[in-house]
Amino acid sequence: MAIIETKNLTYTYPGATKPSIVDVSIKVEKGEFVLITGPSGCGKTTLCRTFNGLVPHFYQGELKGEITVAGIDTLKHHTYEMAKHVGLVFQNPENQLFALSIEKDVAFGLENVGVPREEMRRKVDWALNQTGIYDIRERSPHEISGGQQQRVAIASVLAMEPEVIVLDEPTSFLDPLSAEKIFEVIYKLNKEQGITVILVEHRLDLTAKYSNHLIVMDHGAVRLEGDPRKILASEETRLIGVGIPKATLLYQMLKKEGLNLGDQTPLSSEELADQLLEALKPRD
């Protein structure tokens, strides 16, 4: 069974004249690493908000269609019930940390659902270790860098041991190096813990290689969905204005000129380098 399934989901914010997401039908399987991309204002954030019921419970407005996440109908269940199954990490790290120490922030969700102290301690320490911030757990949020703050935000949803983690442009406030570290943390959680990841990102150069399911949105609708290698190689994707990885572009240019490096479209510089080395190897 799919972990997330939506059918003809259409949502209009209160007071808005036109819907922000239109007729969205997607299916995400357990353990997938899903990448959502598309021009700004196309409804990515709004779609993320439907996954834990912020839309429509927090934002009100009108939601039509069907959605089940982790087997639960989010229309019938409150966001605080969804929090155990779906963790949301937002764009601005600063505005999702409220406590005076990092470990207290990581514990916040567990405190809210009333987990006993010893069990909480165990889960908090585990989440701190998974995200590599155990050593700074007693610091206060303003003493650490943006990248570390974002890892705290990830740890704080991870501590709830959710089946799905949704990250909405988690690195747009960060420098490229911190961003890469965040992606590595996320990828590790996906691979080692089997957590389903939904990542909204523009920087496909850094992230496409991790994903096995790509969703391209435009004007509130899902335009393309499926295997990232196929979608990123298509002409349509380029026209929507998706930041296609440089390696993929180069591969296609070479292919057009008659130089075929193999059947698999590369998604990162490393993959392309391997293909080039393979092609240039002297044959005997």
Partner: protein
């Protein structure tokens, strides 16, 4: 950013910082009561002196002196008013007991300031928030308190950024009369307020997403536990109160003038 350094807090460990804030608060109340019960200079001086070891143990002498200096103006005022009233009511001359009395009233004020400053200088906001959480105060209040402390430096930095940006665009903050100056701050305040509102919406969204309000029976990562130091402080408090009551009832208190 040195202006805002005072708004930041840091986890400090010292025998006094580690004390349970609730017990420390009881200590403030006890000193308060003792300072009200006595009106003679000698016991008030003793109350002043016995708090100095706390200050030294907590290594906050510098901040402590600063808070006393801050109170100096009011203390002088209290002294002068007291001397003046006795001067006018006791037939226009200064007497040693009158001056001593005025000094005692001043000392009482200083003792109160001193005990409050020891409390606030040695209690970190997260400890205070925890004490609030563990007392009967509704959790929402404790949360509001710690979150406010958390965002004060953030907002202060933002205010600075906005001021710099507006100045770069030609805004002159320090120009004109008092009304003009207040009006000058409008282009700083409006973006600050707009951003604070947006920030609070994002905070609310993040709180909802992390199961805010899921159950009335919230648990807490930390627990306030009484340690040896806390029991020692309880003993000190009880000692101060017993001594206060005993001395007040049975011991004649000498005045400084009587020594000469």
């Amino acid at each position: 950013m040195s202006v805002f350094d005072g708004l930041r807090f840091r986890k400090v460990h010292s025998p006094i910082h580690n004390l349970d804030p609730r017990i420390k608060f009881v200590y403030v109340i006890a000193i308060f009561v003792a300072a009200i019960i006595f009106y003679q200079i000698i016991p008030l001086l003793i109350l002043f002196l016995i708090q100095i070891p706390f200050v030294l143990l907590a290594r906050v002498q510098r901040q402590w002196l600063r808070s006393l200096r801050g109170a100096a103006f009011l203390a002088t005022f209290i002294f002068v008013v007291n001397v003046a009233t006795t001067f006018f009511t006791s037939g226009y001359h200064f007497t040693a007991p009158n001056i001593e009395n005025a000094a005692a009233m001043t000392m009482r004020f200083v003792v109160l300031v001193e005990s409050f400053s020891v409390f606030f200088l040695t209690t970190s906001p997260d400890h205070l928030g925890l004490a609030l959480e563990e007392s009967r105060v509704p959790y929402e209040f404790a949360f509001a308190f710690t979150t406010a402390v958390r965002f004060v430096p953030v907002l202060a930095e933002e205010a600075q950024t906005i001021m710099d940006a507006q100045k770069a665009r030609g805004l002159e903050l320090e120009k004109g009369g008092i009304l003009k100056r207040i009006r000058n701050y409008v282009p700083v305040l409006i973006p600050l307020i707009v951003s604070a509102i947006r920030r609070s919406l994002e905070l609310a969204e993040a709180m909802e997403s992390r199961a805010w309000g899921a159950t009335k029976k919230r648990t807490n990562l930390y627990a306030l536990k009484l340690h040896k130091g806390d029991y020692a402080l309880v003993a000190i408090i009880v000692g101060i109160l017993i001594a206060t009551v005993y001395i007040r009832l049975y011991v004649p208190i000498p005045t400084i003038a009587s020594f000469f």
